[in-house]
């Protein structure tokens, strides 16, 4: 589908306006959508509530990223940040780690927040708990080494091995 504005580029921004039982669709390319930002905004302001399409549009046009970040690719699924921006869709869970830098700003724009609050899967609770314990034990270990309390350090090291062994058995990283 071509951009309705410039008639040249492919349309990647699709807006649907529904008012008084009349449906109207607008298809624009990314750059025309950007230059038309004001138009789109006022168009929405007057006629419709926010729609998911608007969020998709935010994903398309407002995700700030440096040039090198745009070419950043996920080693697991191969998707680039550029590709993510054009489709608004991730390729695998690991993308959230690889693109984290550009993502935080984007998530803040969409949700207003960047930290999850709410349900946590039981398995993840165990994992988070283990990581917390490990962090604390590693701190203790460093302190014991600094204090030259080697017996204590050895006991802490064994505890760390035990927890790490347990987590590798369960197949978690």
């Amino acid at each position: 589908m071509q951009c309705e504005e410039c008639q040249k580029n492919p349309a990647t921004v699709h807006l649907t306006d529904v008012s008084n039982n009349m449906k109207r669709e607008v298809h624009l390319c990314e750059s025309c959508a950007k230059t038309q930002g004001v138009t789109i905004k006022s168009y929405l302001h007057h006629k419709t509530p926010t729609y998911p399409e608007i969020l998709t549009q935010i994903v398309h046009s407002q995700a700030e990223a440096s040039p090198e970040e745009k070419d950043l690719a996920c080693p697991k699924c191969g998707i680039t940040y550029r590709k993510f921006r054009s489709t608004g869709k991730f390729g695998c869970p690991h993308d959230y780690v690889v693109f984290k830098k550009g993502l935080v700003g984007l998530l803040e724009k969409i949700h207003g927040k960047v930290e999850h609050k709410g349900k946590v899967p039981l398995r993840a609770t165990d994992q988070i708990q283990r990581q917390k314990e490990l962090r604390s034990l590693r701190g203790d270990l460093e302190k014991a080494v600094r204090d030259e309390a080697y017996e204590r350090a050895a006991r802490i090291r064994d505890k760390i091995y035990a927890i790490e062994g347990k987590s590798s058995e369960k197949g978690t990283p």
Binding site: V18, Y51, V59, C77, F90, R123
Partner: protein, 364 residues
């Protein structure tokens, strides 16, 4: 559960039994989940999609009680059957017309619908009559907890449940309430509602979700952000707003009855009359007229029709439902005739079951 059995039942959420059901049609909670060991569907091959479907299907079978639950693979279903599921709000339009291995698991008298391989690997949905988001959430939460015992969900301590689209990340939860707001539409005050809800980040959609028209004066209100608020907080936010909209709609109805009694009665009776006498009627016109009748029943202008009947008619007069009832494919004009006949029979007491339409033209 066979799809043909569904056709004769109405689904719990159409019963009109839940709290505030004069205005609140239904409450819906959906959770988006992905299984960590697979790619997201946006990158999955057909073969991998098949593996994902089989894996999830096996876990659903183990986790959920039989025979209450039934899995339907979508590709073998006819287009009419798929549209039938969309019309009943059991699957999304995207899921119906999607490609590759995918399906839906239905249960609990249509209060539960779990889409497999929609945009995310799992979309767990609970649907109930009236305003009861909490009970719906509890049921969905329970299923989710059962499934997570055997499925390792893609989850990050910082971002929560990881989803294909960043607009669903975090809780992965969309909580929505469908309201019937004819008086606010009639008096053009609905825009004020839109403005108020957009300020607190609630989205408004039409009868069939994303990008659909608001026909029959039905509007779905749902949370926009999914990250940074707990499930309970999201529900609370919606539960605080909805009663205000309900009060607004009721107040405007009262006001209309006081100030423009004849106008509103005329609208209701004309709509009722048309539905009882029409010989051919489109889906859109049906929605508009039923909306007026529904309001008329709630305002006790019409006393010989029950709300569940009107609720059912909204769904049972849609194209796929009519075609399943008639057990044949019907083109537009034939469908409009069948629709008119069916409505006439239901409203004049000639046909109380969903098979009434096949009785033919009995009121002439």
């Amino acid at each position: 559960m066979d799809l043909n059995d569904l056709q004769t039942t109405a689904g719990e959420w159409l019963g009109g039994t839940g709290p505030e059901s004069d205005i609140v049609i239904s409450s819906r909670i959906r959770l988006a989940r992905n299984v960590a060991e697979f790619s997201f569907l946006s990158r999955a091959s057909q073969k991998e999609r098949g593996q994902i479907e089989r894996r999830i299907q096996a876990e659903l079978k183990k986790a959920l009680p039989q025979p209450d639950i039934c899995y339907h693979s979508l590709p073998p279903l006819s287009p009419v059957d798929r549209l039938f599921l969309v019309e009943r709000h059991l699957i999304s339009r995207e899921h119906a017309y999607g490609k590759g291995p995918r399906g839906v698991c239905l249960g609990g008298g249509e209060t539960i619908s779990i889409m497999v391989n929609e945009e995310d690997h799992l979309r767990i949905q609970g649907l109930r009559s009236g305003l009861q988001l909490r009970a719906t959430w509890e049921q969905v939460d329970e299923i989710d907890t059962k499934l997570e015992k055997s499925l390792d969900y893609a989850f990050s301590p910082q971002f929560g449940y990881l989803t294909v689209c960043p607009t669903n990340v975090g809780t992965g939860m969309r909580a929505s309430v469908m309201l019937h707001l004819p008086a606010l539409v009639m008096t053009r005050q609905i825009d004020k509602v839109f403005q108020a809800v957009s300020k607190i980040n609630l989205a408004v959609r039409g009868l069939y979700g994303e990008g659909t028209q608001a026909s029959g004066d039905f509007y779905q209100f749902s949370n926009q952000p999914t990250l940074g608020k707990s499930e309970g907080e999201i529900i609370e936010m919606i539960e605080r707003m909805i009663p205000k909209i309900i009060e607004y709609e009721r107040a405007v109805r009262e006001q209309l009855l006081e100030q423009k009694k004849e106008v509103i009665e005329d609208k209701v009776w004309r709509a009722y009359g048309m539905l009882q006498t029409a010989r051919t009627i489109s889906s859109e016109e049906t929605m508009d007229l039923l909306s007026a009748v529904r309001m008329g029943v709630n305002l006790k202008i019409i006393r010989d029709v029950e709300i569940p009947t009107v609720n059912e008619l909204f769904i049972l007069t849609q194209p796929a439902h009519l075609q399943k009832m008639e057990r044949s494919e019907l083109e537009g004009p034939a469908r409009d005739i069948t629709r008119a006949t069916y409505i006439r029979n239901r409203l004049t007491g000639r046909g109380t079951s969903t098979h009434g339409a096949s009785n033919g033209d009995s009121k002439s």
